[in-house]
Each structure stands twice: as C-alpha cells, then as structure tokens.
Amino acid sequence: MTAPNVQGSIRRRLTILLTLGAAGLAVVVFFLIQSVAREIAQSSQDNILSASAISIIDSARIDTDGELSIDLPYSSLSMLDSVTDERAFYAIDLDEDFLTGYEMMPRPRPSVENSTTYTSATFLGSEIRVASVNRTISMDDRIAILTVSVAQTLNGLEQTLAQIRSGALTLGIGFFLVTAGLALVIARTAILPLRRLTESVSRRGPKDLRPVAAPVPLEMEPLVSSLNSLMQRLDTSLSRSEDFIAEAAHRLRTPLAIVRTRADVVLRRSETPQNREAVQDIIRAIDESSRAAGQLLDHAMVTFRADDLTRESLDLKTLAIDAIERIRPIAEMRDIDLRMDGGIDRNISGDQILILNALHNVLDNAVKYSSPESLITVSLSQDGTSASVSVSDQGQGFGKDVPTLMAKRFKRGDNTQNIVGSGLGLTIARDVVTAHGGTLTIENIKEGGACVSLFWPLQP
C-alpha cells in the first residue's frame, strides 16, 4: 500500500491560526488597557489641576484701591502634592506680565476666555502637566486677562501607569494562554468527526464495503458521499472479479476434467508405446495447467487476504497435522512416508486459511521433489518468541541454485524436469509467513535433501 502524500495538518493549521489570532488579540488588549488607563489617569489629573487653578483664580480680588490681590488657598496646592510625593508649581500672569510663582515654568496661553487649556512639558528635569485658566478682570482703568497655571510632576502617574501596564501584561498573557488552550481544544474537537470516520473505515474487514452509516457533520457530507460511492463501485467490481475468477475456474476446470478423464481412458486402452507416450504427455500438460491455475488463484488469494490479516489464536500443531493428513494419500501413492516430531505448546495468531495453504504448499513441494520410498520429516519446535515448522525431505535438494533465490516467484531449481509444478509454491508460503511477521528459510541438508523452515512469531 502506498502512503498518502501528506501536506500540512488541519489540526495544526487550526491551532496555529487560532493561536496567532489569540496573540494578536492579547497585544491589542494590552495596548487598549494601557491607553485607556493613561487617558483616565490623565483626565483625572487634569481635573485636579484645573480645580486647583480655578480655586486660585477664584480667589483673585480687586481691592477698593484698585489693586489686584490673590490669596493662594492652602488647599489649592496641597491637593497636588500632599498625597504622593509629586511636586507642584504654579505661575500667575496678568496679560503678558508675570506676577508670581515660577516664572520659567512652561505654560500655555489659553486663547478662549474662561476655558482650561492643558499641556505637557519638561520643567526642572521632570515631566510635568500644566493646566491654565484665564479670566477677564476689570482693573480701574483697563480690562486685563488674568492667567493662572498650575503644574504637577508626573511621577505618580507614571508609577500608576507602570502598575497598570504590568497588570495589563499579566492579563494579556493570561488571555493568550487561555485562548491558545481553547484553540487546541477547538482544533481537536473540529477534527473529531474526521477521526471517528477514519476509525469506522479502518476497523472494517477487507470485504466490508457497506456505506458509512454513522452520522457525520454537514461539512463532511460530500466527502462521505464520495467515499460511499467509491466503496460501492469497489464492491461491485470486487464481487464481479471474485465471481469472475470462480466462474472462470469452474468453466475451465470442467472441460479440462473431461479431457483429462477421456485421456485416462484412452491411455488404458492404447497398446502401442507411441500412443501411450502421446497420451501421457497430454495428461501431464493438463495436470500442469490445472496446477498452475490453482496456484495462481492461491497466490491471488494470499495477496488479497494478507493485506488485512485475520488474527485468530491458532494451534500450529493441529494445522500441521491437518496439512500432513491432507497430503498423506498423495505421498502414499509414491511410498513416501510422512512423520512428525517435536511439539509446540503455545499458540500463534493469524489467518488459518493462509497458514494451512502455506503448509500445504511446502509439503506438496516436498512430496513432489522426493524420490519414491523416501521419508519426509515435519519437525515442530519453539523457542521463547517463535514457533517453527521444518519440512525435510530426502530428495535431490535445491541443486546448485543459491537457495535464497528459490523462493522468488516462478523460480524453479535446475533439477526439476518431469515434475509438474508452477514454481509458485514456495513464493506463496513465503508471502504468508512474511505477512504474519515470520520468516521462511531454505537449505540443503548435508546428507541429501532439502529443508524448508517456516518461523512464526508466538502469541505474547
């Protein structure tokens, strides 16, 4: 089976997208909180500054002798520096003339009467916030504009803002972590129906091609529909090809059987050596073709079943006995004796039909290549992890061929003339053993003969 071409992962993509979104949102939240906090802090400071300036300007009086007098109310400046260790400054101007306070203090000139103007500036090495209010007053001889500016350093504000910033940072990180966690959960939940579908499809046996019946979400409906229709087509074509193979075998084998039987009768009745030889050739050719057809079918069946192995707990010894008894009548025809020794007391797990087929093919090979009146020994043994069935005969062995080449498809040894066989037997046996996670080994026995061993992993 070829592995699908995998590119990316829905789950990973979802997780990354959602996490990136969460990170973006967290940054926005962080800056939003910070700027709102700054604005609120700024406006409350501005209100205090403005209140202070207004309380000062409210205390301005024109004496009876026409002199301007301003009583700085105590609270007007104490409210600015008492709570924190802020420093407060002020400056009072009449028109363009500086009256009192800090002359060098930067201050805006309100353009509109009775309004408050704010500005930020640097004074004496500190960031300050300045609020200025003005009022028109009438002196005895003229109208003048009195401007009161009050300023406060920003140390406290910066401190508060730093606190808020770290709070916002914690909040942002917390927000990010929670949403990232949610993203993982969401991504997992989103692909859950996909995984369920996968499980329901992969749990099926090799011949279960019914449509998917379990409920699926709307988005997966097209996928499941096309999957169902694919399986239906596969089912149709599979059953067609299975029927076809069975039908073809039936149609071919019956006429072959007629020819074979008629030829047998003719052989019995023919006396001349030439005729006998010809008819024997016919019979041999029929046997060869029907054997080849059988092994091709077996091989196809093995390939088909090995793709998705049935796993039953099986007693290898029972299977070996079955296979031996099945082949015994054929062996007896040539006075070949079959013996079994050793034993296996633990089970293996696998497909009974395939394992019987493999054993049958190995035994069939041994009988075919054995000389008459010889002995075939089937030895069972086991070690900690595997059980083995070794079939040894007293035939000619595997000849000069490198034994490892023998199990290749259609390959036959160099000493097999006149023996009916298609060469697929060992290939089938090896494929079955390999599908079960075992190995097949072949060797020549020193005293003459071949030994084929099948090793099967034991059930844990």
């Binding site: 069975a246 075998a249 039987t261 057809a293 025809m333 040539r334 009146e373 006149n418």
Partner: protein, 221 residues
C-alpha cells in the same frame, strides 16, 4: 467398489463412469441433488463423489442433508473452485475429503482408500486364499498368521493381481495403475515391485508368474 457420482455435466460424468469401470468399479450417476437423494435412499454405496456446483442447489446442501440422515457413506467432494476457504468450508460441512477438478484417478483411488481406512469399514473386503489372508483397506497381508509388511505400491500391485487371479496384466497396464503421471516411470520399474512381491510371498500358496512377452499373472496353488 460401488460409487454414486453426483455431477451435472453429463460429458464429464460419462467419462468418469467409464474410467472408474475400467478399474472394476460400479458407478451410478445422478445429474442433480434430488436424484442423488433418491439413489442414496435405495442403494448402499461405498463412496459418494459429489460435485459442489449443481443446477438445483449447492452441493453443500446435500452434505448437510446427508449428515443429518445419519448415513455413514463417505463423501468426497469434487470442486471446480480451488480457493482454500472453499475447501475448508466443504470439510466443515461433513465431506470426508475433497478433490479439485480435473480429477487424477490415481489420487482419487488413494483418497478413497484413506477415507475408507479412516472410517474403518474394511472387514467385509477380506480376501482369503489358502494360507493367505489379505485386508486391502487395512493394508495387511498375513501368511500363516504372520503379518507381512507391504509398502503402498506393493500393496496396490498385490491387490490388482489377487482381485483377478489368472488374468494377465501387461507391464503398461500395471504402470498405469501404480504410478501417477507426474513422474516418468519406465515399465521396467514394475519388475522391481514384482520381484519384491515374490520375495514377500515366499511360503505362500500364491505365486506370481511371468508370461513371456505379455506380462504377469497371479496363480493360486
């Protein structure tokens, strides 16, 4: 032996009947399952050869019915399919053995022998001549109550000869009966087996004679 052959293809059935008759067997032929049941009800057979695909039903149905009716006649299923799964289910349903078409008659004979031996129905086939007692199914030959070990081929050769005393068998006839065709066997191989049988039969009131130019025959003394 008396066979019942249940096979819908009459061409094949005729050939099989003719072929089995050559070996001295009696064969009745049923073309479908209901005929098969009818034959079974009226005659005792030694062996039933059952085709699995039949026009009026699956041969497996016959097997079920056959087993349910307590019949002891063994059944060898003949199938045109060769998938192992098919074979396993045939055996599960009560066939004693199965063969895949085309039938190798030497193999059929061997399988019949094995099935009959397993079912233990051999007592009535005992052949006795003078001081010889022969049970072809069990494969035992006694001379003066001494058991003589015979190999499968020697056994079949002896069985052929003793079933038709005084009949002359040519070498080629014997080769046909004794060897399957997957091995090239020269007719001289028969001489080896005749020689062995003669050795086994020393002291018996039976002798195998060579008829020059024609073959061999067994004579009772």
């Amino acid at each position: 032996m008396r066979f019942l052959l249940i096979e819908d293809n009459t061409n094949l059935a005729q050939a099989v009947v003719e072929r089995l008759s050559l070996d001295g067997h009696v064969v009745d032929h049923a073309v479908n399952l209901s005929d098969g049941h009818a034959f079974c009800a009226t005659t005792d057979y030694d062996m039933i050869l059952l085709d699995i695909m039949l026009p009026d039903g699956d041969g497996r149905a016959f097997l079920k019915h056959h087993r349910a009716s307590q019949s002891k006649t063994p059944v060898i299923a003949i199938t045109a399919r060769s998938e192992v799964s098919d074979r396993v289910s045939i055996l599960d349903l009560g066939a004693d053995d199965y063969m895949v078409k085309p039938i190798d008659f030497a193999e059929l004979e061997a399988r019949c022998r094995a099935v009959l031996r397993r079912n233990g129905g051999g007592a009535q086939n005992l052949i006795q001549h003078g001081n010889c007692r022969f049970d072809p199914l069990a494969g035992t030959l006694y001379i003066d109550d001494t058991s003589i070990p015979l190999r499968a081929r020697e056994l079949r050769l002896f069985e052929l000869l003793i079933n038709a005393p005084n009949q002359i068998f040519s070498k080629s006839q014997l080769v046909d009966r004794l060897f399957s065709y997957d091995a090239d066997v020269s007719e001289n191989a028969i001489e080896v087996y005749i020689g062995r049988l003669r050795k086994h039969l020393e002291g018996a009131k039976i002798v195998i004679r060579t008829v020059r130019g024609l073959g061999y025959k067994l004579e009772l003394l």
